[in-house]
Symmetry: D3
Subunit: 279 residues, 6 copies
């Protein structure tokens, strides 16, 4: 499971399974034949990028270690309507109880990877990298960010704890970019970077002078963005954000900005259709 820590993942999966199981599956727990070994096929009913198959496999095996998932498609691969993605074998009782949670994960993550891939392809001719944001579904961030990378984009920080970021609201509270950067920079682990969100070239200068490692160029028009990128070159990495659309993303990338961040990769992704059938 490249890129995901299985020890950490299991805790998340357990919570997701318990959300669906509650005090127990009142259908499957009484079903005739439930102890039988069965095999189920998971198929795509739509085309897109596959993400989450190892996660789905882990969901089944966490619920019951006797299940085995044979993966028939590669994580990150383009899949077509009708593609067989996996065959899961195990006690019918286990397949029935984990089905919905596994599919919900697989469909949501594949939906995100599909959206990511589409946006990444639009700027493939440039050196700019597309990244996500912290606008993720509460409770699912780790996996949503995993899906973003599976789709070919990159990750911004994982949370409030692994990179400092001075945004407009922080500046209002602190009084100035300089004071905010100065106080935060000397207090955080030296291994961590500090990013500052700036809305114009004056703020950019203040941020660079204060020693920001990364600058988020927020909602700038293309000429300003180009100037900002030039100004920051060699002093800080640059990130453009704000109203990135399929229509304007290439032009933004062509300014030479290092990163373009987009919440929409995640929050505008819809599910890829899939189903699971017991043979």
């Amino acid at each position: 499971m490249k890129g995901l820590d299985p020890f950490v993942l299991r805790d998340l999966l357990k919570a997701y399974l318990m959300e669906d199981l509650g005090h127990g599956d009142i259908t499957s727990c009484h079903l005739p034949g439930r102890e039988r070994t069965a095999t189920a096929v998971i198929k795509a009913k739509d085309e897109g990028i596959l993400a989450g198959l190892p996660v789905a496999a882990e969901t089944f095996s966490l619920l019951d270690p006797r299940t085995n998932t044979e993966r028939l498609a590669q994580e990150g691969a383009a899949i077509e309507k009708g593609t067989e993605l996996a065959r899961v074998t195990g006690p019918a009782f286990a397949l029935l109880r984990a089905e919905r949670t596994a599919l919900n994960l697989l469909q949501r993550l594949s939906g995100i990877a599909t959206t990511a891939r589409k946006m990444v392809d639009l700027i493939a001719s440039t050196g700019t990298r597309l990244v996500d944001t912290r606008k993720t579904t509460p409770g699912l961030r780790l996996l949503e960010k995993y899906a973003v990378t599976t789709g070919g984009a990159g990750n911004h920080r994982m949370g409030l704890y692994d990179c400092a970021m001075i945004k407009d609201n922080h500046i209002k509270v602190a009084g100035s970019i300089k004071d905010a950067v100065s106080a935060v920079k000397k207090a955080i682990p030296f291994t961590a970077r500090i990013e500052v969100e700036v809305k114009d070239l004056a703020e950019l200068k203040e941020a660079l002078d204060a020693g920001a490692h990364l600058v988020l160029l927020d909602n700038m028009d293309l000429p300003t963005l180009r100037q900002a990128v030039d100004q920051a070159k060699g002093r800080a990495l640059t990130e453009a954000s704000g109203n990135i659309t399929p229509e304007n993303i290439l032009a933004v990338a062509q300014t030479g900005v290092d990163y373009i961040s987009s919440g929409a990769i995640i929050h505008h992704a819809v599910w890829l259709d899939m189903n699971m059938k017991i043979l």
Copy 2:
């Protein structure tokens, strides 16, 4: 907070906050001015149906009981671009740390309510009720289902534990609808209902004879659906599902089916744009 149990909600919100906070917010914890009392305004940047404002308020107050959220719009109301939704007052430190989690919830839930309202409006002329499914984001089901009701639609079962449901995979395992229904029905709490998914009129007959309380009429064409609804009348409540689209939903409803279920209310909803600015 109509329809949500605040005692239960707090556990969910705590997990969502911790996902973002990790070992702590390394920006806000060192920011000059962080102990100051500040007021922030949450505004819509898009139009739609508002859902989740009491949830966002609870998020702030869970993080810090000294925060106070003044709600400026009604849960379930239609909001327009620019509408002020709430003013949150409290220690800057608290506002900054809960902001993203509160907004992520508010935007996701409002997005779902907006989708739900649109679909509900399409069948307003009929007696049929639109309901959701268990196709929800893992970890967020309770709130996503709450948003569905806020948008005017209804809920299907909450999980595997509060209604028995014999679907195609269960039938394959059990061997027959009759055996499955019979075994499950006598074992579950008498207060719980049992639903059977059927794909044709023969299966419908078997389900009704077996004593199903609810029948899910899966992917039937309109004439078959009409017949099925007639056949079930007075014996079981009927639910239509499968490929429900804005284009066909009214025709489906006009068959007289009691419920139409749609996963898309949730899994095809995208976020409503909002932001929060400290004054």
Copy 3:
């Protein structure tokens, strides 16, 4: 383990084991010979109905997966004083630490199944079904309700979440049965039922007219109960409760009521005596 979800069960069992273990078993952790493989026999010292043997087996195997429990009696069977119920083999260290928790469960659950069976037998000549209530030992509800079904009775709702119930206190708060039923019924999942507790025929009429699916006929004398059952026939399922005793239960059942609920199945059950001896 028919009727119990093993994934859910393990969380409960872990909490029960930890309650007894605290920071660790200070006797067994230092005992000479503790790593030896041993076999223990669990025997009944009293007669009754066996319930909880799969639960006890799971308790041992959760504590140490190397234990193996050979079951010598059927769940739900009538057992006699001296019956060998199971042989548990595994590291002595594991048998000694899980013994008390496993036996406490087995004795409590068998006690409940025994009480349930006795009451069920009293009304075997009728079509009425005996069910439990939410008067259960805090922390043990899932297993106590499992024991009730093992003894041959049925379950009422599992908690506040899987069936709506308007009782006397709710009516006082809401002002009227009609308002309460109307508000609750349209808000809950359509898959859930709503039950109303009524104390006389006037309230029964109001509940039926409001659309209650189930009516709890509380503490009615036999003639009134008979009338109520007639009145509700075909409109709602009927449940009688209040002061059900071995003496009056048959007469109550003979009114034709669908269900008789009794908290005493659980709260007046005492333990069945058993012990475990290492060979």
Copy 4:
């Protein structure tokens, strides 16, 4: 709350409440009038010894800190049918959701206190003290043992962690009382005692010689018990156990044994009847 640590108690109460609430109370969350302040009276419908009133009060206030419980009877007092035990005031929504959990605790604990008091009274003329065992309902031990003391009896060890105890199964594993006591005694905290279960005078001698602090005289006839008590005097505290009944308990106590332990105080206690009515 004499004898119970409120910080520890809250964790237990939270788990008990969540067991009943599940994903939320689907009746009360939609009930008209639920935000109103209401007062409810808790009354005894049976006579016995009251235990658990502070626990019930804490249950209400944990669910909603705005509730207030006025206690009208003393913990440990003899109550009669009809006695008003408490008045709880707070949001109706909170009273309705905590009612069952609070009453279940109160009724179970009062039932145990009542049984304890009856048995204690039988040996009041002697210097022997009645104590409980580890035969408690899984998940409720702390409160059940609290109820035992409220009824006037004493506690045996709380779990496997706070007193070492060499029982018959331990002796079989270790090979001899001497080896078991010797290994365990030198390894446990010096503040902890070690008890040995013996079935005859030979084993008693071995236990005393090995340095047991406490000896459990298991199932001895009265003459043997008397000899055992004499033999142990000044060397170890004595505890009699096994088939203690109301009929024989006084005779056992009159042997001069220090403690009589009885699992039946807890596992044969049934609930005291009570109810709660909103005014």
Copy 5:
């Protein structure tokens, strides 16, 4: 794992691993070759007493059950600089992620055992036993106390729950030793002991008369301590504490006191140097 309950241990180890892993190890999760089987050697870089090797082994196997730890040195043995302590084989991915947590435990526990052994050796000629206190690192007490016994010293109580202890602050609150002892003694499990901290002979007399089982003779000079030991002989076990140093510990022991307690065994212990190298 003599003296540690593995079921209880795993919960602690999981929390320790999660502290280091956070949302996952961002280095190892992406490392080429991470799925390869590797073997690592753990070596001492310092001399001292080994403690925690079974704990380290359990840490690796909890993270990934496919790891296997071959122990090359005995728990409690004196080790020298360069001693190979263990070889751990398993997926490289697992070794890399558990390494730091396992070593941190091993180094901390060995450091404590080393300190304990040194102090124990100083009083080996006497019958006095050295014990620890509750001055332990928050979150690590169980393992720190385990290390103390591995080093040859003994444990005082494990927490506030397994032995009653009336210290100076308790006496101030209760008003007198007598009142405090009397109230506490009759309320706690009869299996538990009660210790009283006394600062002079008058308090000692009061404690003994009140029935203390253990007396902590706090900070007495040697002549007073000797008198106190004499006075308590046959009535209570004696414990000396306060400013115990390597210089004075033998003299204190030679007073005949039963126990000497020292927080410094734990809070003045420093780590034993070790490392782990993948071959």
Copy 6:
């Protein structure tokens, strides 16, 4: 509480308190006078740097919100033997139960801050910054790293999740520095840095060419270290580690290295002596 997130902190403190409380404090729960309001003074019995006072205050208020802690000394200040650090007022019952946990934290954290300050002072004449490592007490890392900053030193990464680090074992697994850096760098969040541990100038060159942001110069002699610092200048930040002692730290710093990391700040720190007396 500068630098610590109170929402996150409370979870840690709860676990620490529960470790000491177990099933409850059996002394204080029965103590006469326990409900009285009392005031306690916390005093230093040693000199050093104060760290953890806000943490101790939060410990008391978490146990019982009615406690109030008046701080009499500044976090990070030099304190002397006898300095009054704080006065805590609240129910005696709360003071007695939180005392040990609060003091254990305060003493451990102050011990670390004291060690940190001493080492920082040794290199105050240079531009080099002293930082900690991941060699921390399992379960207490967040607070130990907080104490390091309170003492004037800085933090290295918090765990495996907030900075990538290629150490010797990673290089062995991956085959080469280049392959390891290349794979990891493109996979982690772009906001995160990557550090490489190198043992000589050849490895340093490889790491710099691979694009490491930070280089850990492990155990180099002074001349090599000086060369390494020169070579890395402008390409990566430099960190020296390995056998840093009070004797050699200044010489190491004078090489111009950016950071010196030392596990000893934490793992060789011993507690600062303090006590708490109820007035």
